[in-house]
């Protein structure tokens, strides 16, 4: 993705190479010249700021209905700045709902990734490190998880547990841990026989200490890279569930739900579908670019 990385070192950088920059400095240098990473992280940070300061930024209360001003067109057709992105079928300000909607996407995305990352990494590291029977159980768990149709399970669980943001975080967290487990398992397998693990064992370190002190730091990069990609996937799933009506419940301003509510007007008010959809699209792209960038920066040899 980044041509800057591929450039041969110029003569002026020879001296720097002799001074042997630390891996961390090297990483920072690569991060600074990675356009995709910078763009992705900038947009994600912007979205996080918008979510935090939503009450300050939003011009109206996102739940406030003004039935006299229903389905107002956005400023580029009306020229009226009082509702920049227009209003929805209940007269709620579209921009305000969009701004508050970022909270739902980010909370579900980051919350579910935190749960899934913890479950998956624990399972994967245990299986990969101990091998044998433990690993057989881990492989079995991963296979069961992969065989289940995730989206239908999620829909069933939401229909039982209700569509609160907390319930969605839990449900999606428990349904998306497989990739963390698969990757951490194979990394732990590779590291199990390596010199520094053998050395730690030789000086009498406990299993817990080896796993937490030696293994975990070495798989952390991978976990973070997977998490960044999984956050994007979870955000897409939340939007899809809410769109289908078995996700976040009205009147919450979930972007997926906004698209669902606007669906019956899409033929004469296409902007009502386009705007929240584009918000999801942009956020997911930014998270993916940040994730790809992180992978390039932390593990340049694994890039392709």
């Amino acid at each position: 993705m980044s041509p800057a990385d591929a450039k041969p070192l110029g003569p002026q950088s020879m001296g720097a190479e002799l001074m042997a920059p630390s891996p961390r400095e090297e990483m920072r240098r690569r991060a600074k010249s990675h356009a995709g990473l910078i763009f992705g992280v900038a947009i994600v940070l912007l979205a996080v700021l918008v979510a935090i300061f939503a009450p300050v930024l939003a011009p109206y209360d996102p739940y406030d209905q003004d039935l006299a001003k229903r389905l107002v067109d956005p400023v580029w057709t009306t020229g009226d700045w009082s509702h920049v992105l227009g209003t929805d079928a209940l007269g709620r300000d579209y921009l305000s709902r969009l701004i508050f909607g970022s909270r739902i996407s980010l909370m579900v995305g980051f919350g579910a990734a935190l749960i899934a990352g913890t479950i998956g990494s624990v399972i994967g590291i245990l299986g990969g490190y101990f091998g044998g029977r433990v690993d057989s159980v881990v492989v079995y768990l991963i296979n069961v998880k992969l065989a289940l149709p995730g989206l239908l399970i999620a829909l069933s669980l939401v229909s039982i547990a209700g569509g609160s943001v907390g319930a969605l975080v839990l449900i999606l967290g428990f349904l998306t841990w497989d990739r963390y487990a698969v990757v951490t398992r194979s990394v732990a397998q590779q590291l199990r026989g390596s010199d520094f693990i053998t050395a730690a064992r030789a000086v009498g370190a406990s299993q817990t200490r080896i796993i937490l002190g030696e293994l975990l730091p070495n798989v952390m990069n991978q976990i973070i890279v997977i998490a960044s990609l999984e956050i994007a996937i979870v955000i897409l799933i939340e939007a899809a569930l809410s769109f289908l009506g078995l996700g976040v419940k009205p009147p919450e301003p979930s972007w997926g739900l906004m698209i669902s509510e606007a669906r019956s007007f899409m033929f004469f008010k296409p902007h009502m579908i386009a705007i929240p959809g584009f918000a999801i699209f942009l956020l997911v792209i930014a998270i993916n670019m940040a994730g790809d960038g992180l992978r390039d920066v932390t593990a340049p040899e694994g890039r392709n």
């Binding site: 993705m1 041509p3 591929a6 057989s136 492989v139 079995y140 296979n143 069961v144 992969l146 065989a147 289940l148 149709p149 995730g150 989206l151 239908l152 399970i153 829909l155 069933s156 669980l157 229909s159 039982i160 994007a232 897409l236 939007a239 899809a240 769109f243 289908l244 009506g245 078995l246 997926g256 698209i259 669906r263 899409m266 033929f267 296409p270 579908i273 386009a274 959809g277 999801i280 699209f281 997911v284 792209i285 993916n288 670019m289 790809d292 392709n304």
Partner: protein, 304 residues
């Protein structure tokens, strides 16, 4: 080797048994299923009557054995909603979903594999960058939103294609494109990565050195090795398409198995839901086994 194959089959059998427990138990997580079915105004007597009617008063393992025993003989029970045998409901709709899944995967492969190969051969050129950009964009578009955009563009503005229903083959064009675009990025990336690795490997260098022509080298040696993970991913994606087509089926009002599952979840039609969940899980298990066999056939290093 025999031990490996037997171990593998035992694992699959265990996984199949477990997913049948989960599929069976999922809607029963709601607590008292009979109370939910009887409705909010039901008296204790009503609930007891409903429980007796559907066998819900029996211990859970009796219910499971009863259901599993009948299922093995092809009797999946009766829908609570339509009163039709579940097997008939599934059979009437599985054709739509299978058509959709296979055509989407076929279209996806037809475009993704050549694009991935070209990107790998022209690594770090504009072709490669275009393919990668396309895959980043494709991964970030919510499929329901893409479906709605396609409906707006081709169905409403251009009026080229029908936008809902499953009466003619023209009805399948837009849903197929939507699903194909959703699965293409992963296939494209995997083909590209596999080709880059294969082209850099010793056996390809040997093939070049032997004076083999570029095209035979490309197809006989490199692609054959690069395609192995693509076969595995295709099996996974096919499983995903069968279970995940609920979104696209809902957007385009296609009467497939996803929509049946979704409607049944909403009305707690548990005989239908548990049958579809287990059916789709078994499809996935079968598909991954099939992809392993195909890979064993393709990969000269694996022999069974």
């Amino acid at each position: 080797m025999l031990r490996f194959v037997l171990g593998r089959l035992l694992m699959l059998a265990l996984v199949a048994l477990t997913v049948s427990f989960i599929g069976f138990g999922l809607l029963r997580l709601s607590g008292d299923l009979a109370a939910v079915l009887a409705g909010e105004t039901a008296t204790t007597a009503d609930i007891a009557r409903v429980a007796k009617q559907y066998g819900l008063d029996q211990p859970l393992y009796v219910q499971y054995l009863d259901w599993a025993g009948k299922a093995l003989r092809g009797d999946l029970g009766t829908s609570l909603f339509t009163r039709e045998p579940v097997i008939d409901l599934i059979m009437a709709r599985i054709g739509v979903t299978i058509t959709l899944a296979f055509s989407a995967l076929a279209i996806s492969l037809i475009f993704a594999v050549p694009l991935g190969v070209v990107a790998a051969m022209r690594k770090n050129t504009w072709v490669d960058r275009a393919v990668l950009t396309f895959s980043v964009l494709g991964q970030a578009i919510p499929s329901f939103w893409l479906g709605l955009l396609l409906i707006y563009l081709f169905g409403v503005t251009l009026r080229w294609l029908p936008i809902s229903g499953s009466d003619t083959s023209a009805h399948f064009i837009l849903p197929t494109i939507t699903l194909a675009l959703a699965t293409m990025p992963a296939l494209m990336r995997l083909t590209r990565t596999g080709m880059i690795d294969a082209l850099a490997s010793d056996y390809i260098r040997t093939a070049w050195a032997k004076g083999l022509l570029p095209l035979p080298v490309l197809f006989k040696h490199a692609l054959r090795n690069a395609i192995l993970p693509v076969v595995s991913l295709s099996a996974v994606l096919l499983g995903f398409l069968l279970g995940g087509s609920v979104i696209v089926e809902s957007v385009f009002a296609l009467n497939g198995i996803g929509l049946l599952a979704f409607d049944s979840i909403k009305r707690i039609d548990f005989p239908v839901v548990q049958s579809i969940l287990v059916f789709l899980s078994f499809c996935y298990i079968f598909l991954t086994l099939l992809s392993d066999l195909i890979n064993a056939k393709l990969d000269p290093r694996i022999s069974l």
